[in-house]
């Protein structure tokens, strides 16, 4: 009996060790990012490396805002991601409803293919198109290309949610004389609110994280944060502290969202199955 208890305890310790092994790579990278961003330049260049900032300094973060146009890049990112997500919801939620109701498998397949196609393949024609339309230098090309990411995410997630809703309530509304639009607006839409939350969060995150569209389409003034942190900070200053601080600032909104909306993100990714971009 005692041996059995010992084995059980050993098994539990082994299990927790496995869990620790699984999360340690993630811990290592994020904690190292934090550590770099809070240390002064001397400690960042020290070998052996200094792990715990002593004393921690916020100088790197101040540096990021003072020496770069970080604030205007943040505003660019906010405008692009919010517009691309908002527009995608506006057209994608009704489309998901329509496709789910008519069981338009081919339309669903098109959305699926759009989601798995590499982003670069859209970029060449769109790049030429924006040159032709003389939209370069504005945020429009970015907002429009980000729709390539956000629209398929929203439509795909919403198809799944509307398919999962019981149809009886809408049918009852239709029999009572409601128009399809009313049935959608007052019956289906309120029921699908969890789905809308999930698709909003996912569309926003993948738009925020997108790099490839921005690196091609944005000029000096129209850089989004991921492009700015790559361009400005890697070429114009090579010191590690501000670079880590900027990287942390860029990804912080997404990490905070992940912390608070983990349930929705997990549900969306498990059901939707594919990431964007």
């Amino acid at each position: 009996m005692n041996a059995l208890a010992m084995r059980r305890i050993a098994g539990r310790i082994g299990f927790y060790f496995c869990v620790f092994l699984l999360i340690s790579p993630a811990l290592l990278v994020f904690l190292w990012m934090l550590s770099l961003s809070l240390k002064n330049e001397v400690d960042n260049m020290a070998f052996p490396p200094v792990f715990i900032p002593n004393p921690p300094t916020l100088a790197n973060f101040i540096d990021v805002f003072e020496k770069n146009d970080f604030l205007s890049y943040s505003i660019n990112s906010v405008i692009v991601s919010f517009s691309a997500t908002g527009l995608a919801l506006l057209i994608g939620v009704p489309a998901g409803f329509g496709i789910a109701k008519t069981k338009a498998t081919r339309a669903a397949a098109l959305v699926m293919i759009a989601r798995v196609t590499p982003g670069l393949s859209y970029l060449i024609p769109l790049f030429l198109m924006f040159q032709f339309l003389e939209l370069s230098g504005t945020l429009w090309p970015l907002v429009i290309t980000h729709l390539v990411i956000t629209v398929p995410i929203v439509v795909w997630v919403m198809i799944g949610f509307f398919e999962g809703l019981p149809g009886e309530l809408e049918e009852a509304a239709l029999v009572d004389g409601a128009t399809i639009w009313q049935a959608f607006r007052h019956v289906a839409l309120p029921l699908a609110r969890p789905g809308i939350t999930v698709s909003t969060i996912l569309a926003f995150i993948f738009s925020w994280n997108n790099f490839i569209f921005g690196v091609v389409l944005s000029g000096r003034e129209t850089r989004t944060l991921p492009v700015a942190v790559y361009n400005v900070l890697t070429f114009e200053q090579v010191s590690w502290g501000p670079l880590a601080a900027a990287a942390l600032l860029v990804t912080a909104p997404v990490l905070v969202l992940t912390l608070f909306a983990q349930k929705q993100i997990v549900a969306g990714l498990t059901a939707g199955g594919v990431k964007g971009g």
Partner: protein, 317 residues
């Protein structure tokens, strides 16, 4: 006769009324549920998808049969761009590298992801926080984490080589050597995308019935046997879906490779996507780049069709 006729007609009339009412009701309902009535819902998205997704596909095909350098006149060249692909060794190497990268970047996340899903399927203390930390690499901005990895790979000052030497392993060349650059990039890709595999497989494990396990326990099966003979066959469809998604994502990996090695050293980590970027936006050879896109697109399309058929079959079942 009359009376019986009346009597007989009454029920007949009633049933006729019922019968004619029923088709009328279905006609009304069908009329309202007609696919055509839902088109206005799909139409706006259809226009946008046509403009920014379908138009680029068609336009790419058009460009791929032209000599299209930015700033010079466009001329029709037929299949010349495709013929060039057949003789372009740089392109062929990039395909091989992409396949090498993809094979490794599917295998490791799958193995670790399935193991992680089995761990996270159990109930334990701090499971919520552990799972949050585990999925963070997938949600974080790829460029940001790629920059941190770059700093960690630094040959003299990088923390990774310090950690290796402190446990007695000689320093590694990471992305600074042609032979180690792709395995290193696979490591980053594994770090980033294992969580997605874990989530999909975990979703499968969570939906499994409990009875087979109880029966197996009664028969004296141990944990490993339970996993191998019950869990694995039952979550197989989820594993397939995860594998196809991982394959597609690995084929089109860009951000981390671009930031960490930018295809180098030399061309040692130049995958199809990297070469495509180079041809299009460094050499501005849009026609040739479009031909690469078409080939790339066909490869990815074939794999996604497999994914779609698997999903459909799952939905039927």
């Amino acid at each position: 006769v009359d009376a019986t006729g009346e009597n007989g007609a009454e029920p007949a009339g009633m049933s006729a009324a019922v019968e004619s009412a029923a088709p009328a009701a279905t006609a009304v309902r069908r009329g309202r549920n007609y696919a055509r009535n839902y088109w206005p819902f799909i139409f706006p998205a259809g226009v946008v998808v046509a403009a920014i997704i379908v138009f680029p596909w068609v336009f790419t095909l058009y460009m791929s049969v032209h000599d299209w350098h930015i700033g010079s006149p466009v001329t029709f060249v037929g299949a010349a761009n495709y013929q060039r692909l057949l003789t372009d060794e740089r392109f062929q190497w990039s395909i091989l590298r992409t396949l090498y990268f993809t094979t490794l970047a599917v295998f490791f996340p799958m193995v670790i992801g399935i193991a992680a899903a089995v761990c996270f399927a159990r109930n334990f203390m701090f499971r919520g926080i552990a799972r949050t930390i585990f999925i963070m690499p997938m949600m974080a901005t790829p460029v940001a984490v790629a920059l941190v990895w770059t700093m960690m790979f630094h040959p003299q000052l990088g923390v990774l080589n310090y950690l290796l030497t402190s446990v007695g392993i000689p320093p590694f060349t990471w992305v600074y050597d042609a032979n180690t650059v792709i395995p290193t990039l696979v490591m980053v890709e594994t770090w980033q995308w294992t969580p997605l595999v874990m989530l999909i497989v975990l979703g499968g494990l969570a939906s499994l019935p409990q009875d087979p396990y109880e029966a197996a326990k009664l028969d004296g099966a141990n944990g490993w046997q339970c996993f191998w003979h019950i869990s694995l066959p039952l979550v197989w469809p989820h594993i397939i879906v995860a594998m196809v998604i991982r394959t597609i994502d690995a084929l089109k990996a860009f951000d981390t490779i671009f930031v960490i090695s930018n295809g180098g050293p030399g061309t040692a980590s130049e995958t199809m996507n990297l070469l495509l970027y180079l041809e299009a936006f460094s050499f501005y050879d849009m026609g040739y780049a479009s031909a690469i896109v078409v080939v790339f697109f066909i490869i990815i399309l074939m794999i996604s069709l497999v994914l779609f058929s698997v999903r459909q079959r799952e939905r039927m079942a």
